[in-house]
Protein backbone atom coordinates (compact mmCIF):
# COMPACT_ATOMS: atom_id res chain seq x y z
CA UNK A 1 0.00 0.00 0.00
CA UNK A 2 2.70 2.43 -0.91
CA UNK A 3 4.48 4.48 -3.55
CA UNK A 4 8.20 4.92 -4.20
CA UNK A 5 9.79 7.51 -6.48
CA UNK A 6 13.45 6.69 -6.98
CA UNK A 7 16.43 7.37 -9.22
CA UNK A 8 17.99 3.94 -8.67
CA UNK A 9 17.02 0.80 -10.61
CA UNK A 10 13.96 -1.10 -9.38
CA UNK A 11 14.79 -4.37 -7.64
CA UNK A 12 11.82 -6.27 -9.06
CA UNK A 13 12.49 -9.48 -7.11
CA UNK A 14 12.75 -7.59 -3.82
CA UNK A 15 9.62 -5.56 -4.56
CA UNK A 16 7.67 -8.72 -5.35
CA UNK A 17 8.89 -10.49 -2.24
CA UNK A 18 7.93 -7.54 -0.05
CA UNK A 19 4.50 -7.19 -1.66
CA UNK A 20 3.51 -10.81 -1.03
CA UNK A 21 5.05 -10.84 2.44
CA UNK A 22 3.20 -7.70 3.55
CA UNK A 23 -0.11 -8.49 1.84
CA UNK A 24 -0.85 -12.19 1.59
CA UNK A 25 -3.54 -13.01 -0.98
CA UNK A 26 -4.57 -15.66 -3.47
CA UNK A 27 -3.88 -13.62 -6.61
CA UNK A 28 -0.87 -11.40 -7.35
CA UNK A 29 -0.42 -9.47 -10.60
CA UNK A 30 2.52 -7.23 -11.46
CA UNK A 31 3.69 -5.15 -14.39
CA UNK A 32 7.25 -4.03 -15.14
CA UNK A 33 8.04 -1.34 -17.73
CA UNK A 34 11.51 -1.04 -19.32
CA UNK A 35 13.24 1.63 -21.42
CA UNK A 36 12.72 0.85 -25.12
CA UNK A 37 15.63 1.08 -27.56
CA UNK A 38 13.51 2.82 -30.17
CA UNK A 39 10.78 5.39 -30.54
CA UNK A 40 8.90 4.99 -33.81
CA UNK A 41 11.63 4.72 -36.45
CA UNK A 42 14.27 6.45 -34.27
CA UNK A 43 16.78 4.64 -32.11
CA UNK A 44 16.94 5.64 -28.44
CA UNK A 45 20.14 5.44 -26.41
CA UNK A 46 19.06 7.10 -23.18
CA UNK A 47 15.96 8.41 -21.47
CA UNK A 48 15.64 11.25 -19.00
CA UNK A 49 12.57 11.38 -16.79
CA UNK A 50 11.61 14.72 -15.28
CA UNK A 51 8.99 14.65 -12.54
CA UNK A 52 7.01 16.87 -10.16
CA UNK A 53 7.77 15.03 -6.89
CA UNK A 54 5.02 16.27 -4.57
CA UNK A 55 2.28 15.88 -7.15
CA UNK A 56 3.56 12.53 -8.45
CA UNK A 57 3.45 11.12 -4.93
CA UNK A 58 -0.09 12.39 -4.35
CA UNK A 59 -1.43 11.20 -7.73
CA UNK A 60 0.08 7.72 -7.33
CA UNK A 61 -1.11 7.33 -3.72
CA UNK A 62 -4.64 8.36 -4.78
CA UNK A 63 -4.41 5.90 -7.67
CA UNK A 64 -3.49 3.01 -5.37
CA UNK A 65 -6.37 3.92 -3.07
CA UNK A 66 -8.83 4.12 -5.93
CA UNK A 67 -7.68 0.74 -7.32
CA UNK A 68 -8.11 -0.71 -3.82
CA UNK A 69 -11.67 0.60 -3.55
CA UNK A 70 -12.58 -0.52 -7.05
CA UNK A 71 -11.09 -4.00 -6.95
CA UNK A 72 -10.95 -4.81 -3.22
CA UNK A 73 -7.17 -5.15 -3.12
CA UNK A 74 -5.44 -6.39 0.02
CA UNK A 75 -2.15 -4.85 -1.16
CA UNK A 76 -0.60 -2.70 -3.87
CA UNK A 77 2.67 -1.00 -4.65
CA UNK A 78 3.75 1.52 -7.32
CA UNK A 79 7.44 2.26 -7.98
CA UNK A 80 8.43 4.90 -10.57
CA UNK A 81 11.91 6.02 -11.60
CA UNK A 82 13.13 9.53 -12.38
CA UNK A 83 16.44 10.89 -13.69
CA UNK A 84 18.66 9.36 -16.39
CA UNK A 85 17.86 5.82 -17.52
CA UNK A 86 19.73 3.59 -19.96
CA UNK A 87 18.03 1.34 -22.51
CA UNK A 88 16.59 -1.84 -20.96
CA UNK A 89 16.52 -0.41 -17.45
CA UNK A 90 13.32 -0.57 -15.41
CA UNK A 91 11.12 2.55 -15.45
CA UNK A 92 8.03 1.48 -13.57
CA UNK A 93 6.73 -1.42 -11.51
CA UNK A 94 3.22 -1.95 -10.18
CA UNK A 95 1.87 -4.83 -8.13
CA UNK A 96 -1.62 -5.70 -6.91
CA UNK A 97 -2.83 -8.40 -4.52
CA UNK A 98 -6.44 -9.58 -4.47
CA UNK A 99 -8.56 -12.65 -3.78
CA UNK A 100 -8.95 -13.49 -7.47
CA UNK A 101 -6.90 -13.01 -10.63
CA UNK A 102 -9.44 -10.81 -12.43
CA UNK A 103 -9.27 -8.11 -9.78
CA UNK A 104 -5.48 -8.25 -9.46
CA UNK A 105 -4.89 -8.07 -13.23
CA UNK A 106 -7.48 -5.32 -13.75
CA UNK A 107 -6.03 -3.30 -10.88
CA UNK A 108 -2.55 -3.44 -12.47
CA UNK A 109 -4.00 -2.36 -15.80
CA UNK A 110 -5.98 0.48 -14.24
CA UNK A 111 -2.90 1.70 -12.35
CA UNK A 112 -0.72 1.62 -15.48
CA UNK A 113 -3.30 3.18 -17.81
CA UNK A 114 -4.00 5.99 -15.35
CA UNK A 115 -0.38 6.53 -14.36
CA UNK A 116 0.69 7.16 -17.96
CA UNK A 117 -1.65 10.12 -18.44
CA UNK A 118 -2.19 11.44 -14.89
CA UNK A 119 1.14 11.16 -13.05
CA UNK A 120 3.46 14.16 -13.63
CA UNK A 121 6.44 12.56 -15.37
CA UNK A 122 7.87 13.65 -18.71
CA UNK A 123 10.18 11.56 -20.87
CA UNK A 124 13.01 13.09 -22.86
CA UNK A 125 14.65 10.73 -25.32
CA UNK A 126 18.20 10.87 -26.53
CA UNK A 127 19.15 9.08 -29.73
CA UNK A 128 20.73 9.36 -33.15
CA UNK A 129 18.40 12.25 -34.00
CA UNK A 130 19.37 14.24 -30.87
CA UNK A 131 17.26 14.93 -27.81
CA UNK A 132 13.53 15.45 -27.75
CA UNK A 133 10.58 15.48 -25.37
CA UNK A 134 8.24 12.56 -25.92
CA UNK A 135 4.81 13.63 -27.14
CA UNK A 136 1.73 12.28 -25.37
CA UNK A 137 -0.08 9.55 -27.30
CA UNK A 138 -3.77 9.49 -28.15
CA UNK A 139 -3.75 5.72 -27.61
CA UNK A 140 -2.73 6.29 -23.96
CA UNK A 141 -5.57 8.77 -23.43
CA UNK A 142 -7.98 6.31 -25.04
CA UNK A 143 -6.87 3.52 -22.70
CA UNK A 144 -7.27 5.86 -19.74
CA UNK A 145 -10.77 6.87 -20.87
CA UNK A 146 -11.97 3.25 -20.92
CA UNK A 147 -11.81 3.19 -17.11
CA UNK A 148 -13.98 6.28 -16.80
CA UNK A 149 -16.57 5.25 -19.38
CA UNK A 150 -17.09 1.86 -17.79
CA UNK A 151 -15.87 0.06 -20.93
CA UNK A 152 -13.08 -1.51 -18.85
CA UNK A 153 -14.04 -3.04 -15.51
Amino acid sequence: MSVALQSEAIDVAAEYAKLVRDSPGAAVATFTGYVRDHSGQQSVTELELEHYPEMALKVLEDLGQSATERFGLSGWRIVHRFGRLAVSETIVWVGAVADHRGEAISACELMMDTLKTDAPFWKREQGAAGEQWVASRDSDSARRARWQSGEAQ
Binding site: G33, L49, E50, H51, Y52, E54, M55, A56, K58, V59, H80, I91, V92, M112, L115, K116, T117, D118, A119, P120, F121, W122, K123, R124, W133, V134, A135, S136, R137
Partner: protein, 94 residues
Amino acid sequence: MASGSVSITIKLFSALREALGESEFQLNLTEVSEAPAQIDVAAIKKLLSQRGAEWKEALNQPNLVHALNHKVVFTDAVVSEGDELAFFPPMTGG
Protein backbone atom coordinates in the same frame (compact mmCIF):
# COMPACT_ATOMS: atom_id res chain seq x y z
CA MET B 1 -6.19 39.31 3.54
CA ALA B 2 -5.06 42.41 5.38
CA SER B 3 -2.67 43.57 2.69
CA GLY B 4 -5.08 42.80 -0.15
CA SER B 5 -2.30 41.07 -2.07
CA VAL B 6 -1.91 37.41 -2.92
CA SER B 7 1.41 35.65 -3.36
CA ILE B 8 1.56 32.24 -5.03
CA THR B 9 4.29 29.87 -6.23
CA ILE B 10 4.47 29.16 -9.95
CA LYS B 11 6.18 25.96 -11.15
CA LEU B 12 6.99 25.03 -14.73
CA PHE B 13 7.99 21.59 -15.99
CA SER B 14 9.34 19.79 -19.03
CA ALA B 15 9.28 21.62 -22.39
CA LEU B 16 7.58 24.62 -20.77
CA ARG B 17 10.36 25.01 -18.18
CA GLU B 18 12.92 24.68 -20.94
CA ALA B 19 11.24 27.17 -23.29
CA LEU B 20 10.78 29.81 -20.57
CA GLY B 21 14.04 29.27 -18.70
CA GLU B 22 12.40 29.21 -15.24
CA SER B 23 11.34 26.33 -13.06
CA GLU B 24 9.91 28.05 -9.99
CA PHE B 25 9.18 31.60 -8.82
CA GLN B 26 6.91 33.62 -6.56
CA LEU B 27 4.19 35.71 -8.14
CA ASN B 28 2.70 38.64 -6.27
CA LEU B 29 -0.76 39.38 -7.51
CA THR B 30 -1.04 43.07 -6.71
CA GLU B 31 -1.09 43.79 -10.43
CA VAL B 32 -4.35 41.94 -11.05
CA SER B 33 -7.45 44.14 -11.13
CA GLU B 34 -9.89 41.51 -9.78
CA ALA B 35 -10.46 41.16 -6.05
CA PRO B 36 -8.09 38.49 -4.64
CA ALA B 37 -11.01 36.13 -4.05
CA GLN B 38 -11.73 36.03 -7.79
CA ILE B 39 -8.30 35.46 -9.29
CA ASP B 40 -8.47 32.27 -11.28
CA VAL B 41 -5.98 30.27 -13.34
CA ALA B 42 -7.09 32.06 -16.52
CA ALA B 43 -6.20 35.42 -14.92
CA ILE B 44 -2.75 34.13 -13.95
CA LYS B 45 -2.17 32.88 -17.50
CA LYS B 46 -3.18 36.29 -18.82
CA LEU B 47 -0.85 38.05 -16.41
CA LEU B 48 2.12 35.80 -17.19
CA SER B 49 1.44 36.09 -20.93
CA GLN B 50 2.35 39.77 -20.63
CA ARG B 51 5.94 38.76 -19.90
CA GLY B 52 6.64 38.31 -23.61
CA ALA B 53 5.79 36.47 -26.80
CA GLU B 54 7.37 33.19 -25.66
CA TRP B 55 5.31 33.23 -22.44
CA LYS B 56 2.14 34.00 -24.36
CA GLU B 57 2.79 31.16 -26.79
CA ALA B 58 3.81 28.62 -24.14
CA LEU B 59 0.89 29.33 -21.81
CA ASN B 60 -1.72 29.31 -24.54
CA GLN B 61 -0.96 25.90 -26.02
CA PRO B 62 -4.23 24.02 -26.40
CA ASN B 63 -2.98 20.98 -24.47
CA LEU B 64 -1.42 22.88 -21.55
CA VAL B 65 -2.09 21.25 -18.17
CA HIS B 66 -2.57 23.33 -14.98
CA ALA B 67 -2.26 21.85 -11.52
CA LEU B 68 -3.29 23.80 -8.43
CA ASN B 69 -1.80 22.44 -5.20
CA HIS B 70 -0.91 19.17 -6.97
CA LYS B 71 -4.32 18.58 -8.56
CA VAL B 72 -5.17 19.11 -12.23
CA VAL B 73 -7.74 21.90 -12.59
CA PHE B 74 -9.57 23.88 -15.27
CA THR B 75 -8.79 27.55 -15.88
CA ASP B 76 -11.72 28.69 -13.72
CA ALA B 77 -10.10 27.35 -10.52
CA VAL B 78 -9.61 30.21 -8.04
CA VAL B 79 -6.16 30.72 -6.53
CA SER B 80 -5.50 31.82 -2.95
CA GLU B 81 -2.60 33.08 -0.88
CA GLY B 82 0.18 30.49 -0.62
CA ASP B 83 -1.11 28.27 -3.42
CA GLU B 84 1.20 26.40 -5.77
CA LEU B 85 0.22 26.59 -9.44
CA ALA B 86 2.08 24.47 -11.97
CA PHE B 87 1.97 24.55 -15.76
CA PHE B 88 3.19 21.69 -17.95
CA PRO B 89 2.60 19.71 -21.16
CA PRO B 90 0.63 16.43 -21.14
CA MET B 91 2.30 13.79 -18.98
CA THR B 92 4.31 10.96 -20.53
CA GLY B 93 5.40 8.69 -17.69
CA GLY B 94 5.20 4.96 -17.27
